[in-house]
């Protein structure tokens, strides 16, 4: 078992002929993901051949769903077209939409989110590294070589920081059910609670690593959720203890407003709700080991 993506995932890559899209389409296919289609308007009828198996390219996601049976989409198109690409996927009936693109205007997301919700689809991201279920499927940009199968669910607002922690686990012989990057933007489709819920319901996940950062109150709410709804142990990390207030730390969502959204506040919420807090990334191995 795994969450969100697994062996039933039938993936379409939106923006498959772009530099990043092509590179990661190849990587995902090499990892073993069932890549069934690519989409680039105007290139319908061509074939994507960078990966181990040829993949048909369509003009629209609707065609990719109808003709290739895609149920999951991953988006690598530039920010100005990304909101539209997400809505196109939702309208076409895609169930899981993973938006890698960074830099989508937040007001676009205020419209994209209800559009996706109305169609019963799940949006992961934007500005996220995607999802990786070791041994089953890789959707997004997480490096396949840093994961291994095992009992730990990982959920994070960050990209590379997630790799860091996952790789430490893998090197220590602790594998993962699924690694989920929920994205660093202020408005995202799937949040910590949604993901924790899925991990709680997944029988193979025995413990969860939750990686947060400054800004907002998602981590605090997730911590309360852990107490209220979760039976599985959770280990947590918060990035940005040394971040100055009022500055946007790379991620549009990583900003301390006034006295709200600080790392201290979040770490306190973790501790108050029985979540073991790492002081540094390398603590992850010991804390997870004792949680399992």
């Amino acid at each position: 078992m795994a969450i969100f993506i697994d062996n039933d995932t039938r993936l379409v890559v939106q923006g498959i002929t772009g530099r990043d899209g092509a590179f990661h389409a190849q990587q995902m296919q090499e990892y073993g993901t069932n890549l069934v289609a690519g989409v680039t308007p105007g290139k319908g009828g061509q074939t994507f051949t960078d990966g181990p198996e040829p993949v048909p390219i369509f003009d629209t996601v609707e065609q990719a769903v109808r003709e290739a049976g895609a149920n999951t989409s991953v988006i690598y198109v530039p920010p100005m077209f990304a909101a539209d690409a997400i809505m196109e996927a939702a309208e076409a009936g895609v169930e899981l939409i993973v938006a890698i693109t960074e830099g989508i205007p937040v007001l676009d997301l205020t419209r994209v989110y209800p559009f996706v919700q109305e169609r019963g689809a799940r949006l992961l991201g934007p500005n996220c590294p995607g999802a990786l279920s070791p041994g089953k499927a890789k959707v997004g940009i997480m490096p396949g070589q840093i994961v291994t199968e095992g009992p730990v669910g990982v959920v994070s607002r960050s990209g590379t920081l997630t790799y860091e922690l996952v790789y430490l686990l893998t090197q220590a012989g602790i594998g993962q059910t699924t690694c989920i990057g929920i994205g660093g933007d202020p408005i995202i489709g799937t949040n910590f609670i949604d993901t924790l819920q899925a991990f709680e319901a997944d029988p193979e996940t025995k413990a969860v690593v939750m990686i947060g950062e400054i800004g907002g109150t998602d981590e605090q709410e997730a911590a309360a959720f852990v107490t209220a709804e979760m039976s599985k142990p959770v280990v947590g990390f918060i990035a940005g203890q040394t971040a100055p207030p009022g500055r946007r730390m790379g991620h549009a969502g990583a900003i301390i407003s006034g006295s709200a959204g600080t790392a201290e506040e979040k770490m306190q919420a973790f501790e108050d709700n029985g979540i073991a807090v790492m002081k540094r990334p390398s603590d992850v191995v010991e804390l997870v080991r004792s949680a399992l």
């Binding site: 590294p129 997480m142 203890q241 500055r247």
Partner: protein, 378 residues
């Protein structure tokens, strides 16, 4: 991106908000001329991207043009929280009966634009929120419909009891929402929205923050950026599509990914060092970014060591390695480099560095500790 009060007021005026006239002056003589033009008492207001201008002496009443010139002379060039005042806004003084607060932000929790209004205006809204949250009326706008007239009236009716003022305020809410959406703002604020003794409703201060991600499609607003209001290193970083924030320490860090960059800063501190900056070279990478990053960091004289912490995902380690090698060729610096490189195309990256005689580690903990030691000069 922050814009100045006078720029926000221009946008507000274009959207039909009741903003009194006002123009910007860069010399005391300009300020005098404007005060003459408006007649009567004017306010001279420092235009800087920072709160608390009033307390710092950056906002002054002038009863005549001569006084306006004097105040402008004092305020122009003034340092407010590290920023030099280059411009003042000159605007007629208004008689104030009541002061209210009206603001719109993008709210993470509801995933919508949210209005916050309060009868307590002219003060810090965060203080009001902390002290008496019930004094603030909140309304989340469904972006599929926009702010609806009845919602604008609901908000207005929470501020005023008089129907004329309610109607004027409702119209102001509608216009403010237009300004917010049309500008791609993440915050738009009127503080205070006043009523005059004659019963008029006016917006006498204005604040807007623009979502940086909107600028590509809003040329007119992008052109409002005031480069004098930010350190040149941050301007350069932005132009190279990097995120750079200068800090006070001596360990310059180049990291890919915001979370990892923050964690790197935190870890430097954990091991007793002090980060000189936050620098995220972002997701999709190119060698040019690495070069720009090195140029920016090496221009900070406080930096004693440069730490690379790269975990390849969409960023490829070979790109970063190429960037480092090219940068070393192109720019001249003597600073020690501590490099960590792992993830996508790690082997190629490490090989490229080794061919150039540079060694790289794969452990974050290790490189951070080493950088702290190097910075200490041990």
């Amino acid at each position: 991106m922050n814009i100045h009060e006078y720029q926000a007021k221009d946008i507000f005026r274009d959207c039909g908000l009741p903003v009194p006239p006002g123009e910007v002056a860069t010399t005391p003589e300009d300020a005098r001329r404007l005060a003459e033009q408006y007649g009567g008492t004017v306010v001279v207001k420092a235009q800087v991207h920072v709160g608390g201008r009033g307390k710092a002496g950056g906002v002054k009443l002038a009863e005549n043009p001569g006084e306006a010139m004097e105040h402008a002379a004092n305020i122009l060039g003034m340092d407010i929280k590290g920023l030099t005042v280059e411009q003042v806004l000159v605007t007629p003084a208004e008689d104030i009966d009541t002061e209210a607060y009206v603001g719109v932000i993008v709210d993470r929790a509801s995933k919508r634009p949210v209005f916050m209004v309060s009868r307590e205006g002219g003060v810090d809204i965060e203080e009001v929120a902390a002290r008496s949250p019930e004094a603030i009326t909140r309304l989340a706008v469904d972006p599929r419909y926009g702010l609806l007239p009845f919602q604008a009236y609901w908000l207005a009716a929470s501020l005023y009891d008089d129907i004329k003022q309610q109607r004027a305020a409702a119209k102001t809410m509608m216009s403010l929402y237009d300004a917010f959406i049309q500008s791609g703002a993440s915050l738009a604020e009127i503080n205070p929205l006043i009523t005059t003794p004659a019963g008029e409703v006016k917006a006498i201060d204005a604040k807007m923050n623009i979502d940086d991600n909107e600028l590509f499609r809003r040329g007119a607003i992008a052109a409002m950026r005031d480069l004098s209001a930010e350190p040149p290193s941050e301007t350069k970083a932005r132009e190279a599509d990097l995120t750079y924030i200068k800090l006070d320490g001596d360990i310059g860090a180049v990291v890919n990914g915001a979370g990892l960059a923050m964690a790197t800063m935190d870890l430097i501190k954990f091991y007793g060092g002090e980060p000189a900056n936050f620098l995220d070279i972002g997701g999709s990478s190119s060698p040019d970014k690495v070069i720009a990053a090195l140029e920016i960091i090496t221009s900070d004289p406080a930096v004693k060591v440069i730490l690379f912490n790269i975990f390849g995902g969409i960023t490829r380690c070979d790109d970063v390695a190429n960037g480092i090698v090219t940068a070393l060729d192109r720019i001249n610096f003597e600073l020690p480099l501590v490099i960590r490189l792992t993830g996508t195309n790690e082997e190629e990256g490490v090989r490229i560095l080794e061919q150039a005689g540079i060694s790289a580690s794969t452990s974050m903990d290790e490189v951070v500790q080493r950088a702290v030691v190097v910075a200490r000069g041990e």
